[in-house]
């Protein structure tokens, strides 16, 4: 159960990882560049800023989820 939940978390987080960088930042950047975020074309923003912010958030979310999971299954290290 523990391992299954871990894998589920990994799948979801890595999917977001792939979408923000490879899709939004590269493959779909052309389409997204039609939209603007302030002075940034959106696709350009994802490639040069947004994806990096998302990466940081992803790791901290993973840490939070795993610590909660460790507690739930009592495998928490002191």
């Amino acid at each position: 159960m523990y391992w299954k939940t871990n894998l589920k978390y990994l799948a979801i987080l890595l999917l977001i990882w792939f979408v923000v960088s490879f899709l939004f930042g590269i493959l779909l950047a052309e389409t997204l560049n039609q939209f603007h975020l302030g002075g940034f074309p959106l696709g350009f923003w994802f490639a040069h800023q947004g994806s990096i912010y998302m990466f940081v958030i992803l790791i901290f979310v993973y840490v939070y989820l795993m610590n909660r999971l460790d507690k739930k299954f009592n495998v928490d290290e002191i």
């Binding site: 990994l10 990882w17 930042g25 590269i26 002075g39 490639a47 040069h48 993973y62 840490v63 290290e77």
Partner: protein, 339 residues
Amino acid sequence: MSAQTWTYILVGGTFLVYIIIAILSRAGSTKEFYVAGGGVSPIANGMATAADWMSAASFLSMTGLIAFMGFSGGQYLMGWTGGYVLLALLLAPYLRKFGKFTVPDFIGERYYSKNARLIALICALFVSFTYVVGQMKGVGVAFARFLNVPFDTGVLIGIGIVFFYAVLGGMKGITYTQVAQFCVLIFAFTVPAIFISLQMTGNPIPQLGFGSRGTDGVFLLEKLNQLSVDLGFDSYTSIDKNNLINMFFITGALMFGTAGLPHVIVRFFTVPRVKDARISAGWALLFIAILYTTAPAVAVFARTNILNSLSNASYEDVPSWFTNWERTGLLSFEDKNQD
């Protein structure tokens, strides 16, 4: 005092700090030498990882590369940071859990094979050696410029300092020197960026500044696009469709490569618990992200400035920084339209 004297004092001062830290945190045991005794706090480990890894390439060259490449430069930004997600989710906690000192150790135990261990060792040496060559080039260039010594002497000075604190303090000395290095590095990179951003856009946060309006009321990126197009370059934010597949795979390669760097992986053996390994990857990426989100901003500021001040200038009129850098062989002046 002249700028040169200040440079000597500041560079000498930081060397002194590193050496003092190394002496204070001398390693006393094997565990201290290889993994800093396994007792480094996750935040300190995050800073050390960030400094360890943001070296010559990120600090000296990447901004210029992005300024040169425009949108496609994003492959370095995403590639070198995205790898940390893989590292944090797929590698670091499990390696830490296994409780060995190095990756070849891990491979050897896990797959019950001395040969596998030997192959892992050769790979690690090969990767490290290639990496060190790049770093030493950076060290040489930096010292040649700032201490006014020949390139070779610069490399020798750099090797000497690193050798001293690495041998004396092992991983423990290196970890705490690198925490200090991170503070120096991030200060040196962000402070000028903040002031340039203030000057060019009135916004003190470079990450927002390069997406806002310049002093003349035009969005900075639009102005840069216009300047580039006027001079016959591609517009800065535009996407080269034929290059997208290259960019996709280069980004991927850089991500997987980053996740596999031996000197980064070994950092996660230095924290006490598995959950510390997880969170310290987060701290590391956060600290790295400070530089990696500032760099594209600096790239835009610098490119706008260069296009504004150097295009159509004659050689006699170029600013003094140009001739200073010309001596290191990194810049040159070319008369494209024979005037």
